[in-house]
Symmetry: C2
DNA sequence: AAAATAAAGGACAATGTTGTCTTTTATTCA
DNA sequence: TGAATAAAAGACAACATTGTCCTTTATTTT
């Protein structure tokens, strides 16, 4: 569904969001520990997200990554778009470039519905929607 | 969604199915041309599908790949399972191994519905469901 | 039996994804 | 100003996916 990079990105963003709601900035190291991901790789991902303004960052002591009010409202869709591109939003299920309503591939119509569901989920699920209390019982980010 | 290999596999199977309904066996070369895929790579894929009994093959002149009555009824799901494994059928949307009903990841419940849709589509769509006449107007397999 | 056909199998090359390490730049604090 | 902190950036290594080519095996036809 999503690339591994994208999975890390989503988990990392949710982790940062949780901490941001507690007014904490977090270092790459902490994020990587928090979501059980490879540290240096996670750094690259966070840098990428930051470059694309999905995330704020500050250098130096007391610095780290964080999300402001606006950032917390970003839907997962934005992360996916930046990391994986929008293949999943627009692409044909069979990878056919010319597939369209006029020249649909065999699974075009069924796939359209599924894609609609995916988009809907990714658009309505916001990065900041998961609290830490929740996380104890209903979610966790480590593998 | 699916790997490139899997996309080729699905398109190839549909192509072979169409020809099988016309009582034609097809060579790798013809399949590759029919679906606009790399020939040698397509050969590997067809061999794999054949090894896994999703497809029949015959060597020598007049040989090639074909599907019998049973084969035409195979759902796309079987192809996906063999080529991509069943990650898409069972895996967590965020790639978390421990994600489950009891310890759901943030998108677990929404994702469950989507997965259900994907499975349903793949199970109910049969390899032999697409006729050549259809293909002129409503489907094509080339990119 | 020999030639032709076509899949099967093995080896390998190119590319993309994932993961690691080191150096540089910016910021804070003493 | 100097030391410490932390992100940014660059280089590269490991691995997986995708793609190509060559040899072998099985079958048919002449």
């Amino acid at each position: 569904m999503f690339s591994k990079t994208c999975e890390y990105a989503i988990r990392a963003m949710i982790y940062v969001a949780q901490q941001s709601k507690l007014d904490r900035r977090v270092s790459v190291k902490e994020v990587a520990e928090g979501i059980a991901s490879p540290e240096y790789f996670t750094a690259k991902i966070l840098q990428n997200l930051s470059r694309n303004n999905l995330l704020s960052s500050a250098k130096g002591p007391g610095g780290g990554f964080f999300l402001d009010k606006q950032g917390l409202k970003a839907p997962l869709a934005e992360i996916v778009r930046i990391i994986d591109g929008d293949d999943i939003f627009t692409g044909c299920g069979l990878g056919l470039a010319q597939c369209s309503e006029i020249q649909p591939c065999p699974i075009h119509h069924e796939f359209k519905q599924i894609r609609k569901g995916i988009i809907s989920m990714l658009e309505k699920t916001k990065v900041g929607a998961f609290t830490e209390e929740n996380s104890v019982h209903t979610l966790f980010l480590k593998r």
